[in-house]
Symmetry: C3
Subunit: 339 residues, 3 copies
Amino acid sequence: MELTLAQLAEQLNVELRGDGEVRISAVAPLQAGCSGALSFLANPRYRRYLKTTQAAVVVLSEQDAADSPVPVLVSDNPYACYARAVRLLYPLQAAPTGIHAAAVVDPNAYVDPAAWVDAGSVIAADARIGPSVQIGPGCIVGNGVVIEEGSRLVARVTVLAAAHIGKRVILHPGAVVGSDGFGMAQSEGQWVKVPQLGSVRIGADVDIGANTTIDRGALQDTVIEAGVKIDNQVQVGHNVCIGAHTAIAGCVGISGSTRIGRHCTLAGGVGLVGHVEIADNVHITAMSMVTHSINQAGTYSAGTPLTKNALWRRNAVRIKQLDTLARRVSVIEKNRKNK
Amino acid sequence: MELTLAQLAEQLNVELRGDGEVRISAVAPLQAGCSGALSFLANPRYRRYLKTTQAAVVVLSEQDAADSPVPVLVSDNPYACYARAVRLLYPLQAAPTGIHAAAVVDPNAYVDPAAWVDAGSVIAADARIGPSVQIGPGCIVGNGVVIEEGSRLVARVTVLAAAHIGKRVILHPGAVVGSDGFGMAQSEGQWVKVPQLGSVRIGADVDIGANTTIDRGALQDTVIEAGVKIDNQVQVGHNVCIGAHTAIAGCVGISGSTRIGRHCTLAGGVGLVGHVEIADNVHITAMSMVTHSINQAGTYSAGTPLTKNALWRRNAVRIKQLDTLARRVSVIEKNRKNK
Amino acid sequence: MELTLAQLAEQLNVELRGDGEVRISAVAPLQAGCSGALSFLANPRYRRYLKTTQAAVVVLSEQDAADSPVPVLVSDNPYACYARAVRLLYPLQAAPTGIHAAAVVDPNAYVDPAAWVDAGSVIAADARIGPSVQIGPGCIVGNGVVIEEGSRLVARVTVLAAAHIGKRVILHPGAVVGSDGFGMAQSEGQWVKVPQLGSVRIGADVDIGANTTIDRGALQDTVIEAGVKIDNQVQVGHNVCIGAHTAIAGCVGISGSTRIGRHCTLAGGVGLVGHVEIADNVHITAMSMVTHSINQAGTYSAGTPLTKNALWRRNAVRIKQLDTLARRVSVIEKNRKNK
């Protein structure tokens, strides 16, 4: 798609500083900009590339605008503005509609005529596929699953357990929604499986990353509220509830029955034990282990810093002795006071 | 399925306190109980809901029984009793038998007439599928794989390398059994792949979670003994042996040739390096790193506690200096003694 | 395949000590060796099995050769020599060529006549499958993907985003290449998806493990250079670059735009935050968190040692107080000096 700068400024509802007739048909990084390309500056570590950019236009904040050698789209949120510009320049291709000859759709499933089911996908009985839904190749949609308008299963996605998928949800390849929760009772040294009866409810505008797994509830449903964004290889246990507009980075593990608030962020590799509650607006940094509820908004961390291995070995021994060390310091302090 | 309380008590072999004619047809959480529903109390954090429950019957231990406002099934293991009650009230649906028209079964594979192979599954030569096995949609069963009676590949499961799957095993969506182990020799700065020739042997009553991966052995087999339960997104390296009735939570990683005993539990996110041995009845808490063998039963832990980020930053600096700090304390102590 | 020891020694280009007429047709561990089997000793922990091995021949270093009770192939790199011997004794089976009747190939895709596409695979428009490529069952190859000569998608692999796969690459089951990166801009408390436009370029002789995910770049490509070996369940974010001959063990997570040098090793469970750079020949030990760039070759570590749970609890409390403890020690030292 080719647009003039004037058209872009109008559709993005931002101020243009520069020639409105310039034509834009691509996006590029600041350091690799070229004629016809829109670029942006959001992360300060890339500011050094601004002065010499060859881009045709740059999306910038007011404070950076004066430094641009080329036309500017001024936004108070350059990254979000850039995201919208990309969508204008690279509109989503209209998906086909219908059912591929090599898809298998149960006669008791309903597929909207304006939906698309690609080759190798299997749609079971009582599933309902809404309008403008795209089921990519190799997907499995189980009994009673509902997928609302405009959602997209990219490829090789599995949705089971009569899960309810809201509007405009994107499920990336290898994602599994509605697998059994890890519910087991111990009895005479063996594990007895607790049948998992709940489902999964996913709100509108949720993204579920590649090879991410979301278990069905044991009794009540696992719930992912609207606008939640989940990266790849994340594990969400049964009966978890994730509040609206929370973002969860790759390799996070969330144990069963844990509740996460709204507008939280969990960085990569974070782990949460089960049955804890996390307040709204909580941010957990990478690879932290969360073993207790968090009642107060803020940023929380755990973990030890990377060092050269030889130093780490020496310090690791001391961590094992830390309680003893603290007691030794207390003894010294006490002896001093007693003098 | 609807049962009277008298029938339930008899089939579960527990004592009923209350009206044996009450009819039960569902299960529900204690706080959401209703007419016709069975509930249970196992986790003490939910005891507060007992006094006001609307459930028709509650499975309880003797010590809690007196507090119930409704009929009680008295069990010394309420959670396991509940699990069995669920199975009575929600019996597994009889699977169909036969081979879906959209499945692909090699002429040299054997599929028992009482097994089911769903659409989109591919069964390779010399595979043997036993009676009452359910192969869900989109599964891949490779050459020479054996799947014994009553096992279930839920959907989109891959089993390769002539793996042997015992009776009543459940493989959840996206699981991969029999992928190549990560065996490589270094030669002149490059990696030479070591061909992986072993297989995987999985005992009876094992559960393998969604998107879990279990590598084939390099020479001898990777072995998962009977009754082992493995959650989602777990990685089991080549030649690992996991003892019977051990339970492994989500996101655990087990490096090659490690041996884990019987009746162990590994909590979420635990990692084990290769070639270590873990005794029976060892329990490892969440996200711990295991770098040495453990010869003694008990509970083991590693990791640092979550704190506010500002405090964590100050403490993290000190962890880097911990060996130095300990030496400084030793100097102080020595100076004191020398006085 | 059966070979004499003389043939093996010649083809491996190593010295034979023993009877060249002995026939070898299998490999076995040192402790399970038998007539006709080749074994090896590389890991010193298995040296105790050498004296009593029943193998027909053992691949050994010069220093161990005198201890062997059976014929020896002398190599200065026994493990790599063993790997090559295995390939000679167990040559890869010639794959079939052609397209299985139950595969779906778009008329605008190109599949070399010497390639193989197995049942249940779906090849989209403008994909190009080179000679001797094996596409196993249940794979998805998206629009414009290029797979070069000799590569192998084992089973149920997904490759999207017009990714370019070099020669002799192996993609293990469940791997996903070319899923969308986790790019989002925040706007008024909600997340705006940043369309992902880049691709993935994978060099020759790369291995990608089971259920590993490699995201497409946001603007420029995600790059995996030649000879990189990646284990199972690894997550590689958008715009990551991994240098040639680097090896990455299971469950590693690499955040977006991070650059890893050549000849590095990342042990299991390591996590790297985004936008950092790791020099060549850097080795990170298991489960370490990398939050800063590393400019110098060497071995680096983080994490706390495993202890009995009771001791860990006491020490964990002290970690929270570590900065305070260090300040207390400083006060003691200062008071001593002031005396």
